[in-house]
């Protein structure tokens, strides 16, 4: 799977979230700066599961893993059992 494509899909999803404020780039600290809130995380998890076909294990629910779009893309790649639907 291509990490760059996963990252691209995540960036697109985040920028399209209702009420999303500000620029988002691969290394934007979206948790620390409050751009991604808890309901946003739940929406993002739903998107990753439904559109990319990847389920994130509970053990990966760690701040660092959701810190930036790039770390989320890493998480999706690491959690994928086989291919990612990008």
């Amino acid at each position: 799977m291509e990490h760059a494509k996963i990252l691209d899909r995540i960036l697109q999803f985040l920028a399209g979230m209702p009420g999303w404020r500000g620029e988002v780039e691969a290394d934007t600290p979206i948790l620390e700066n409050g751009q991604l809130d808890s309901l946003g995380i739940v929406s993002l998890m739903g998107y990753i599961e439904e559109s990319l076909g990847v389920e994130i294990p509970e053990s990966e629910f760690q701040f660092e893993r959701f810190a930036t779009p790039r770390s989320i893309a890493d998480l999706v790649r690491d959690s994928a059992d086989g291919s990612v639907a990008v």
Binding site: P18, G19, R21, L31, G34, Q35, L36, D37, S38, L39, G40, I41, V42, M45, G46, E58, S59, E60, F61, Q62, F63, F66
Partner: protein, 413 residues
């Protein structure tokens, strides 16, 4: 009394015990008591006591419980404050003794499930503690003061998604249908010794609920508004949440008092406002000599869509933190919660910034009965032993300007 043991399909870390405990009594009204079965640092099952063992399949309840516990397993709470006063063995903190003392002396009275009253200096103590939080809200954070009614329109709670997220806590208000035939039927029913609970057909759909917290009035007051300016508002009032387990008076009440402060505005302004207020509250706890801690937490979602994921996400990012004060050597009670909602609630209530995007919101709720209980558990029931800042304020309650003015007026007439 019947009792049954049910093994969990998988072992749960013992640190999630409080989470499971919080949920078990909402599984079925007929659970009178329960115990978690522990094996080392894991929970392996549940011992249920009560008629539940005859009326339902405990296995199906366990399945529900397991779903609720999912998602929380790997998320450790993050601590943001620890009190200067230490806790632990030898702390001398004893909430149970204090409650017994208050009740024996007539200074507290349990009126029924989840309701309690305080009198004299102990009632004044709650007022004084609220005055202190009101001062932080109004005089330091610049909040506008509001006084709200008790009845809250059901539609207001519906709009915020409360009915789906916390159905287990909801308390509703009912009344008879306004027709002479229904009133007559009600009168005849009562005369024949009938119960109110048998009169469903004579009542109308629920228009009002009892408020679970004050902040819903605030969001409702701002529907359709647009502003970039930071808005800070505060109110104190009676709040209501159903709690099955009521045998610990003051810990869990159906009817309690919240001092709530809400921030509405740009994300960074709201977050700074909330964090500053949290710092003030925890510093005040140190000033009052209270032992406690403040750490990340999550809302008690129960059977809500994605409830476990929402709870885990809240805990992970620290959007909710709780001030927990010690009631004895190890037990704590959540006396305040600090909540960042992002744009979620503002989107639901159409509260916007000037460009039309949803504002950010945050709120702090301080449970005054719980705070009072923790204060008494830690300082005792004798006002002479309370920190002087509190003791002086309690003693001065009789000299509040309104009372002095009325006393002077009465004595002059």
């Amino acid at each position: 009394m019947s009792q049954i043991e049910v093994a969990f399909p998988e072992r749960i870390p013992a640190r999630l015990g409080p989470e499971l405990t919080r949920r078990v009594l909402y599984l079925d009204e007929d659970i009178d008591d329960f115990a978690l079965i522990e094996d080392g640092d894991e929970i392996t099952g549940l011992r249920l006591v009560g008629p539940i063992t005859r009326t339902a399949r405990p296995e199906s309840l366990i399945e529900t419980l397991m779903q609720e516990a999912q998602g929380l397993r790997s998320v450790e709470p993050k601590r943001v404050w620890s009190s200067r006063r230490p806790s632990g063995p030898g702390s001398g903190i004893r909430a149970d003794d204090v409650i017994r003392e208050l009740i024996d002396a007539g200074d507290a009275r349990v009126h029924g499930p989840g309701t309690i009253s305080l009198r004299g200096a102990h009632a004044d103590l709650l007022t004084v503690l609220d005055d202190m939080f009101a001062a932080l809200s109004m005089d330091v954070a610049g909040a506008e003061h509001h006084r709200f009614p008790t009845l809250l329109g059901t539609s207001v709670l519906e709009r915020g998604g409360y009915l789906e997220s916390f159905p287990n806590l909801l308390l509703t208000v009912n009344r008879l249908r306004n027709t002479s035939a229904d009133f007559e039927r009600f009168r005849d029913h009562r005369r024949s010794g009938g119960s109110l609970n048998e009169l469903e057909s004579a009542t109308i759909p629920v228009e009002y609920c009892l408020p679970p917290t004050m902040c819903y009035y605030i969001y409702d007051s701002h529907v359709g508004t647009r502003s970039d300016e930071l808005r800070v508002l505060t109110a104190v009032g009676s709040s209501f949440r159903f709690e099955h387990r009521y045998e610990s008076p003051l810990r869990r009440l159906w009817d309690f008092t919240i001092r709530e402060t809400v921030w509405i505005g740009e994300r960074d302004d709201v977050r700074r406002g909330l964090e500053r207020y949290r710092g003030l509250v925890t510093a005040l706890c140190d000033e009052l000599g209270l032992a406690g801690l403040c750490e990340s937490a999550h809302d008690p979602f129960f059977l809500a869509d994605n409830g476990a994921a929402k709870a885990a996400a809240q805990q992970m990012i620290g959007s909710k933190t709780e001030l927990r004060l010690f009631l004895d050597d190890d037990e704590t009670v959540a006396a305040a919660s600090f909540n960042q909602h992002g744009q979620h609630l503002a989107a639901q209530y159409d509260i916007g910034l000037s460009d039309g995007a949803p504002a950010s919101t945050a709120c702090v709720g301080i449970g005054l009965e719980r705070f009072t209980l923790a204060f008494l558990a830690q300082h005792g029931t004798d006002p002479r032993r309370w920190p002087s800042i509190v003791a002086r304020a309690v003693a001065a309650q009789a000299d509040r300007p309104g009372r002095v003015a009325v006393r002077e007026w009465v004595s002059s007439t």
